[in-house]
């Protein structure tokens, strides 16, 4: 049963993403979602480029994004399945959620590698 082997890993990715989102998300949303686009603070592009392209930042950003995507996949899977009582659609829901996280993670890897 491959499902039994995968389940603990999915739980670890879920809880890892939960911790990461709890700690990093508020400051990231305030900075990049509100303060910078709305001009509350001014950031020099060259500085931001230097910070983002530094190898450690690339690694951290990749880790954050992958964990947060799998956190979403695992939680949203059960929100759909249990919340909306869609138990008969268990397989397509799981494929859609984890598949989405895998596709997003590959895209993130490519973006980080080709910066």
């Amino acid at each position: 049963m491959t499902k039994r082997h995968i389940e603990p890993i999915l739980w670890m990715l879920f809880s890892g993403g939960g911790v990461i989102a709890a700690v990093f998300l508020p400051v990231l949303i305030v900075l990049f979602g509100l303060a910078i686009p709305l001009g509350w603070v001014s950031v020099d592009y060259n500085h931001l480029h230097a910070v983002v392209t530094y190898w450690l930042t690339r690694l951290v950003v990749l880790g954050l994004v992958v964990l947060m995507l799998f956190h979403w996949a695992h939680r949203f899977r059960y929100t759909l399945q249990d919340g909306l009582q869609l138990n008969r659609l268990e397989t397509p829901i799981a494929v859609l959620c984890y598949g989405g996280a895998v596709v997003g993670s590959i895209a993130a890897l490519l973006i980080v590698l080709t910066l």
Binding site: W11, I29, Y45, A73
Partner: protein, 138 residues
């Protein structure tokens, strides 16, 4: 009271959608930064459009809800040592709509009062937030 806690449960579960939204938002931003200043400016003017700003305000509210509920859950999910034996603070914890054995979520040894765990998580959040803000804004 029951209705209210169910409402909060649904909200907490929905927070994952905004976690995914901002993960995608971040990746697009990093991609734009890599493509040059013009594409970065384009991204930021898109991010300043009313619809995206509203989504991010809602996302921030859900992120804060996620932080508060996740931090409150961690001590319950920890394995606490009591008199030399490992005792789960709670036998089962409800996460993502499922009851799971407490120890699957976080495993920490030692005698740690729940209040201290929550306080140290908030301290961690303050340090990380300050560092990220310093790194970006300096």
């Amino acid at each position: 009271m029951k209705k209210r806690s169910y409402f909060m449960f649904v909200l907490r579960e929905l927070s994952s959608v905004f976690v995914a939204w901002f993960a995608v938002f971040l990746m697009i931003m990093v991609f734009a930064i890599g493509r040059g200043e013009a594409s970065y400016q384009n991204f930021m003017s898109w991010a300043a459009s009313p619809v995206v700003v509203v989504i991010n305000i809602v996302a921030l509210a859900f992120a804060i809800l996620h932080t508060v509920t996740w931090f409150a859950l961690t001590p319950q999910a920890m394995v606490v040592r009591f008199g030399g034996r490992q005792v789960p603070a709670m036998k089962e914890v409800r996460v993502a709509g499922r009851y799971v054995p407490a120890a699957t979520v976080v495993r920490v040894g030692g005698r740690v009062p729940a209040g201290l765990v929550v306080a140290s998580q908030w301290a961690g959040l303050v340090v990380v937030s300050a560092f990220v803000a310093w790194l970006v804004l300096r």
